[in-house]
Amino acid sequence: MTDMENRQIRAPSDWTYLPEPARIVSIRREKMDAVIALELADGRPLGHMPGQFVQISRLGYGEIPISVCSTPTRPERFKICVRPVGHVSDALYKASEGDWVGIRGPFGRGFPVRTMRDRDILVAAGGIGLAPLRSLIQYIRDNRADYRRIIIVYGARNPSLILFREDVNTWTRDSDTEMFLTVDEGDESWNGRTGVLTQPIKEEIELNPRETVAAVVGPPVMYRFVALELLAKGVRNRRIFFSLERHFKCGIGKCGHCQLNGVYVCQDGPVFRYSDLTRLTEAVEARAPEE
């Protein structure tokens, strides 16, 4: 690097933190989330795998990590689902069709769609955690022959916060998916399950534990309870996958924000094997529930 020749400065081909423009082709706003379909300026597919995320910018507001919620098997455009919780997510939520955003990525390690082949897949989603898992479910359904059962357990805080309603209806209706929907608090119109999502796992679902791979995404407190139920049913800890959330700035293992013991969540994850996480003292998600 210190050779004189190298000191003749060549512009780097890709400028690490420069996003590329993408246009919002459609936006569907619900009370607490917006599903946004995006198209890169040059029209090429994003090239992601389920569970990967992008760093998305609203220029002038900032940049945040958001999971891609669409499947690469339907590549024309990709979708994200945003819950407005601050600066950038609010701005994305309020954006309109035709607006431009910036995209970097896709980044990170997604779900192990290979390991999952020829196995039963259990998907456990809490709240906004359904976003990356929807990508996985769609991917598996688009490659249906490669996989066996698809069991979906989804818990929302209340009926009005249920994401991807149409998809949820389809998964409930179709016979090739086993859908277990629950809400923490129902309302007058609600006649489905109420309670935490570990309940259906514990009480309703028959598993072939040796053949099951689980993918879990939700709020931090959810993970360990789900893991306990799955372990109790005999699912191997190597076959349970968590997608974790941390503060990301760069998405490529440089900024240091997402460091979790020796790993970078953005680069070594966000999807981790449960068995790997139990060794990491800072992985609160994998810690045994406190007495």
Binding site: T16, R246, I252, G253, G256, Q259
Partner: protein
Amino acid sequence: MFRHRALPSYRVMSSEDLLDFLGHLMKSEPVMVPMERPDQPGFHVFDWLSRPEDLVLNYTTTTLPPKKAFFPPTETLFRFRGDDPPKLTPVKESGPFVLMGIHPCDLAAIEALDKAYSYPPPDRRWEYNRSRALLIGVDCVPDEYCFCDSLGVSQARRPGDLFLTQIDRGYLIEIHTPAGAETIAAARTDVANEADLSAAANRQRQKAGAFQGRMKTGPDRLADMLEAESFQDIWEDIASRCYGCGSCNTTCPACFCFTMSDELDWDLNSGVRMRSWDACQLQDFDLVAGGHRFREKRWQRVRHRWHRKFLYLYRRFGRPFCTGCGRCSRACTADINILDETNRIIEAASRGRTHD
């Protein structure tokens, strides 16, 4: 002409010739050096040089390390304008520059950051800025906070191009790279004789004897110790004194965490994305939406600092991300000394304590 000679090779230069050389360098490229703070005489700072005589080579330390030449505390990454589609223009400085007067510990830190930032995918901005720089190191005398010899970098030369050691008749110049050789070729230098080399070696010996403190074990054993035990009581004790002000991070030559933020122009349509140094000791460093904090207690953040420097990055890159420069101990507004606290951990581990 030096190109084919074995490196390192040696030359000698008088102090006056050094200033001439500097004047010559300044004509073609900007030069950053340690100099006395204009606002606070008696203290030093790395800054761009406007007059050769402002150079101070026998400084003890600076608040900020020289890494700021490649990775400024706050910098613009790109400009944007909200057109249709938006226009994004990378911001980069042009032309090569010289960074002079780097102590061995800071050279070692630059090497460490080279590793961290070039780990794929590489940080192009760091690489670009690094590739623009010629590095000239200089020998030093340890102060009360230094312990670089405990970490094996008190004689570090890489990735410097040239290295200066003060001797009676000026400076002994070690030439470590072809780029260094080419640069020095333009200067008035003399052959280095036996006396020069032994004077320099003498100084190294003096330096080795001048350290007031030592780390009580090597980095390898330290990493094992940190991995094996929790030391929670020690972390808690440090944390009870710690402000969480992050000064230990922001003065560290081997820290490299950052944050990014946007700033709009007054037209509210164009603006810039900036990146600035961040610090893991700050309360909000790992805060995520929804108010979750993953290192909620101050002692967890303190532990993270030690673990990151001596365990995580040690395992990942094969070297501790501390060079013993002593800046954090000096900067700590709460009197937390990294060497003392590290030795406390080592002692506790050596006493064979059990987990708590």
